[in-house]
């Protein structure tokens, strides 16, 4: 019996040792394109660009999702291709600070028949060691090969109240700050019109810190 308990204690130790090792890794000091864990968001007024620190979620390099960028502590923080270190509310404030024009045309009631409007946003992703900054259409694969057309939907009240953490969604969304004009709400989850996943051939491995840039156009 003692041996069995010792065996289980060894397993527990193995887990805790593993956790310590990863928590003390050097990622805290890493800066990617001007953003880091200490300063996860950067606003560039001259180019009207907001850059947010995020990490690649390896799960969605093979699985289907409707979430592109979500704050890690939001309700859907475990569902995006890129897990952001900046919350959606501050991100939205930054968008408004840059005088971005919000669509605010999406509601849960009209979602299934409405495409998100608002100012166009070019989303790109880069990471340390990447040869260039990749457009979102390169790093996220649309099964229909339709271009992802990100718009500043706004949705300030829903974003705060529902606290999903959604910064960028892959179909038109009444909650996400930015979402994809190309598909109406429910295209991924309810109507199976399309599947989205991260491009495993291009993106770095799970957990790699990336800088996601949102440029107003």
């Amino acid at each position: 019996m003692k041996k069995t308990v010792a065996f289980l204690a060894a397993i527990a130790l193995l887990f805790s040792a593993c956790q310590k090792k990863d928590e003390t890794s050097a990622t805290k000091d890493i800066s990617v394109n001007g953003v880091s864990l200490a300063a996860p968001m950067k606003i560039d007024e001259s180019t009207k660009t907001i850059t947010v620190l995020a990490a690649v979620n390896g799960k969605y390099l093979t699985e289907n999702t409707r979430h592109a960028v979500v704050f890690k502590e939001g309700k859907f923080g475990d569902k995006p291709v890129f897990t952001a270190y900046q919350n959606q509310n501050d991100f939205l404030k930054a968008m408004l600070y840059l005088n971005a024009v919000a669509g605010n045309n999406m509601t849960k009631e009209n979602g299934a028949t409405t495409q998100v409007e608002g100012q166009k946003v070019a989303v790109s992703v880069t990471w340390n060691g990447a040869p260039k900054s990749y457009d979102i259409n390169e790093v996220i694969i649309d099964s229909n090969h339709r271009a992802i057309d990100m718009r500043f939907g706004g949705n300030e009240i829903n974003a705060k109240e529902m606290n999903t953490g959604c910064i960028a969604c892959l179909d038109s969304c009444p909650v996400g700050v930015i979402s994809n004009h190309s598909y109406m709400y429910g295209a991924v989850e309810k109507r199976d019109e399309v599947t989205f996943r991260g491009n495993a051939a291009l993106l770095p491995k799970d957990g790699t810190l990336v800088a996601v840039s949102f440029k107003l156009i």
């Binding site: 397993i11 193995l14 991924v188 957990g207």
Partner: protein
């Protein structure tokens, strides 16, 4: 000590059951987007712990059935790595998937060795007969 072992054993069985359920959930994107893996694992482990209070020995049969079920679902769906992502979403954020994989498979292997030792070698009192 015996009770502690039973709690841990059945909690692990609950974990295997929860992983299987998460794998099945992943086949439907609507469910997958709404049900958090963490919640399923919490319920699975919780059920395992509750079950342990009603059992006097660790059921080898239950363990092998749950383990086989988990691997069969994995192979059928070709979603081996989802096991580790499920585990990571269970309060293990920030830990590398490779580390989780090593620890989980080590635990599973050792559990199997312990049971093989019980079945074919010295009988361990905490385990039930294989029935």
């Amino acid at each position: 000590m015996r009770k502690l072992f039973l709690v841990l054993f059945y909690a692990f069985c609950g974990l295997l059951l929860a992983i299987s359920i998460n794998l099945l959930i992943s086949t439907n994107v609507w469910l997958e987007m709404r049900i958090h893996e963490r919640l399923v694992l919490e319920i699975g482990i919780g059920l395992g712990i509750v079950l342990s209070f009603f059992r006097n020995s660790a059921s080898i049969a239950l363990f092998f059935v749950l383990q086989s079920t988990m691997f069969l679902i994995c192979f059928w769906l070709s979603k081996m790595d989802l096991i580790y992502y499920s585990l990571r979403n269970f309060y293990l954020d920030g830990i590398a998937i490779s580390s989780i994989k090593i620890v989980f498979l080590t635990c599973l292997s050792l559990m199997n060795l312990l049971m093989i030792y019980h079945l074919f070698g010295k009988k361990l009192t905490c385990f039930s007969k294989f029935s």
